[in-house]
Assembly symmetry: C2
Homo-oligomer: 150 residues x 2
DNA sequence: AATATCACAAGACTGAGTCTCATTCTTGGT
DNA sequence: ACCAAGAATGAGACTCAGTCTTGTGATATT
């Protein structure tokens, strides 16, 4: 890795972006960021609150939501609407991390997937549609291997 | 139109499916069905409750949710997750009515759209994915013509 | 170190959605 | 028509994710 082209971790990028946006540092935000960084899949706000309370550093509910809002506004985290009552959040990785989600309606399992053809279809579509498309998060519903019984 | 091949309205189909599923008739359900039939785009449960209270036939909150659940289970209505805090519902039309939604994150406008290439991409995708895909509802976010300022 | 400002915690509050249960309506059988 | 069984409904209590308020503590700048 060269000096200025090195691969930055998500935490490092998050700290840099937050600082550039004029935010001071704080323990609650740090705790939320570290938890999000340690997870590979999307968490709900309540899951985050519970995990932190059980863990080393409790963080109040208001702080969890505030931090998630800040991170979302800076495109550091992304909402995932799984249709499961609670919104989920996951960190946004820059390089090739673009993926969508499969949700099993029976057991609630959430799985990531990605597909080139789908991306192309959406890119083209975006040009024809009366909306400047900013983000897309596709969620497909169905039943997973263990729930093939409906 | 022939005698048995005639085009059935959504209301007629709904009544038939409900009856076949062993449901008796009732005023609340009828009112919800008529409202959904009169709408071209998706409504939230609260919008439905309000519209009915203001209209001819008030329907209690419990009934609105109960009826929507029943209709969804029978695939007569479809949920639309717009990421706007409240789930929306719209009737499911059989012939070619398959469409998705654009949501303006600034003003909350919800617009329908459909796209053949997108459908094809999803159909192909469904075969490669570890999930028996039952439904898909794509929601694209962005800003509409009137909100081009972010 | 003083100060101004941001970050935070605690908990009251809001409101969408659920649950319960008593009452009313439908419908099939008589 | 009448009646009984069971479905449909209404009213409101209840749950709980998410918001808002306020007082306190942390942080950076001078």
């Amino acid at each position: 890795m060269s000096t200025h082209g090195h691969t930055e971790t998500w935490i490092e990028r998050a700290e840099a972006v937050l600082s550039a946006a004029g935010h001071k540092r704080g323990g609650a935000r740090r705790a939320v960021i570290e938890l999000l960084d340690s997870q590979s899949c999307a968490l709900t706000a309540v899951e985050i609150e519970d995990a932190l309370r059980t863990g080393e550093r409790g963080v109040s509910r208001a702080s969890v939501y505030r931090v998630l809002d800040e991170l979302e506004a800076l495109r550091l985290v992304q909402r995932v609407e799984t249709g499961q009552a609670m919104v989920r959040y996951e960190r946004v990785c820059e390089q090739g991390g673009h993926h969508h989600h499969l949700v099993c309606d029976s057991c609630g399992l959430v799985m990531p997937f990605s597909d080139e053809a789908l991306e192309r279809a959406i890119d083209k579509l975006s040009e024809r549609v009366p909306l400047r498309v900013s983000e897309h998060e596709i969620v497909l519903h169905g039943s997973c291997h263990d729930c093939r019984d409906d």
